[in-house]
């Protein structure tokens, strides 16, 4: 088809699909990883289209279906979608804030074959948690939801995003997850893109706070061995090498937006010039193999120095494209988190600005994530 095609390394089958069923969400977390321009309800894919997408996902070799959002429980057809995923042999993981679930609905989801629930918490303390979520009563509701998940016997993961207002309780959140009956807990320090980038000023903790929190959580691994699995995503900003973003661009996962656009990672739309295909016009496997966006940063051919001649290029794939773009102006550059990047000083500079922040963040400091208001330009 394309005369300029170079001999490509074979493209392996995708492993996971992250389905953003909707961007609607009752909460307003200021670090939300959804794009700042959220998809409207009106353009959302209908039930039949989502079912087709999941059938195509299973046929393409995808194993895990992550049902996400926004808040996936905001979709009335959630149970039907889960049942369909089950039918086509996908492992279903519901990524939820819990708001919008009821005990009855949890039972229906369990009967439909839901395999796993990942429940987000905003903090281990009610008042602070509700302030971060921008929703009164969210904390109390999540405790109910955790109980319902345990009642129906679905394994529970608790997920907490860490930032300045809750970092003092990073370790406490592990304990809280145990109390909620979780088998697994994710303690993930905020990654600064999308809404988190808009709110970076009020989210970013100091280096000292980070070090203390990281050590605290690491110290709990032993205490809870065999009881809860701790997945710890430590912050980028103080690392020496970047993370292998998404396990490599176009290597493992596909992200489908509420309107059906398929992205290699959920922030990929911030990169100008990429052409995304939609499930309305193409099959999932066609998109995986042939869409320009997926092929843009596959393999190592696109890399610039220092990545191009670096032995780690097949380990971290040069890090995150979106972060490279945001901080260096060119998505092909090494992720500036890398100490080998000529732009690495920018990361240190940003991090240093936060060295003497305190932990008091009031609600009025946040720009809450919402479908309605527009975000002021920075």
């Amino acid at each position: 088809m394309n005369a300029l095609e170079t001999t490509p390394t074979p493209i392996s089958a995708p492993v996971g699909i992250l389905a953003e069923l909707t961007h609607r969400c009752p909460l307003g977390c200021p670090y939300c990883s959804n794009p700042v321009e959220l998809d409207s309800r009106a353009g959302e894919l209908d039930t039949e289209t989502w079912k087709r997408v999941f059938s195509e996902a299973a046929a393409a070799g995808i194993l895990h279906a992550h049902l996400s959002g926004g808040e996936p429980a905001s979709r009335r057809d959630l149970v039907e979608i889960v049942a369909h995923c089950k039918k086509v042999g996908l492992y279903t993981n519901l990524i939820t804030s819990g708001i919008g679930l009821t005990q009855e609905r949890m039972r229906e989801l369990a009967d439909a074959g839901l395999d796993h629930v990942q429940l987000s918490i905003q903090d281990a303390m009610a008042e602070s948690a509700d302030r971060i979520a921008g929703y009164k009563g969210a904390f109390a509701r999540k405790i109910d939801v955790a109980r319902w998940v345990n009642e129906v016997g679905i394994p529970l993961t608790v997920n907490a995003v860490i930032h300045r207002a809750n970092i003092a309780r990073a370790g406490r959140m592990v304990e809280f997850a145990v109390e909620l009956g979780a088998r697994r807990v994710e303690i993930a320090h905020t990654q600064y893109y999308a809404w988190a980038l808009v709110n970076r000023k009020v989210l970013m903790p100091s280096h000292a706070q980070v070090e203390k929190a990281v050590a605290e959580v690491e110290g709990l691994r032993e205490t809870y061995a065999g009881k809860i699995v701790i997945d710890h995503v430590i912050p980028d900003y103080y690392a020496k090498y970047p993370k292998a973003c998404m396990g490599g661009w176009g290597k493992r996962t596909m992200n489908v937006t509420p309107h059906g656009k398929v992205l290699p990672c959920h922030a990929a739309e911030t990169i100008p010039g990429l052409e995304f295909w939609t499930v309305r016009e193409h099959s999932l496997i066609d998109i995986w193999m042939n869409s320009p966006a997926f092929n843009a940063f596959r393999g190592t051919e696109w890399m610039l120095e220092p990545c191009r001649s670096c032995p780690r290029k097949t380990i971290d794939f040069g890090g995150c494209r979106c972060q490279a773009l945001a901080l260096t102006g060119d998505a092909r550059n090494a992720d500036p988190i890398c100490h080998l990047s000529p732009h690495h000083d920018k990361v240190a500079e940003i991090a240093a600005t936060f060295d003497d922040v305190d932990a008091n963040v009031s609600a009025s400091d946040y720009i809450y994530r919402t479908l309605k208001t527009r975000v002021p330009a920075e």
Binding site: H64, Q118, I154, P155, R183, A225, G226, I228
Partner: protein, 95 residues
């Protein structure tokens, strides 16, 4: 708790809800699927995990494997304990 040598012979291992052993047609191999995890399983692990049904005890599983593969019981037992200990620590098997 998950020290392999300390697992009792009478435990009845089982895969908890949310953990599946699946033959993947696309890749032509057996995989153990768990929340956010995909583990490749070698043929021995597959035979062990197929028997973790919550009814058979660890000793019975070892007996069964030793008989079927005409292998030395002690070696099989070491393999079974090592695998179950590792998976229990990851909370992918309930003992």
């Amino acid at each position: 708790m998950s020290d392999p040598a300390e697992i009792g012979g009478e435990v009845k291992p089982r895969l908890p809800r949310g953990v599946h052993l699946k033959h993947d047609e696309t890749r032509g191999e057996w995989l153990l699927l768990a929340p956010e995890r995909v583990l490749k399983t070698n043929p021995i692990a597959v035979e062990i995990l197929k028997r973790c049904d919550g009814n058979a005890t660890l000793s019975e599983i070892v007996d069964d494997l030793a008989a079927q593969f005409k292998a030395e019981r002690a070696r099989i037992e070491t393999d079974v304990r090592a695998l179950l200990g590792e998976l229990a620590a990851k909370r992918m098997v309930d003992l």
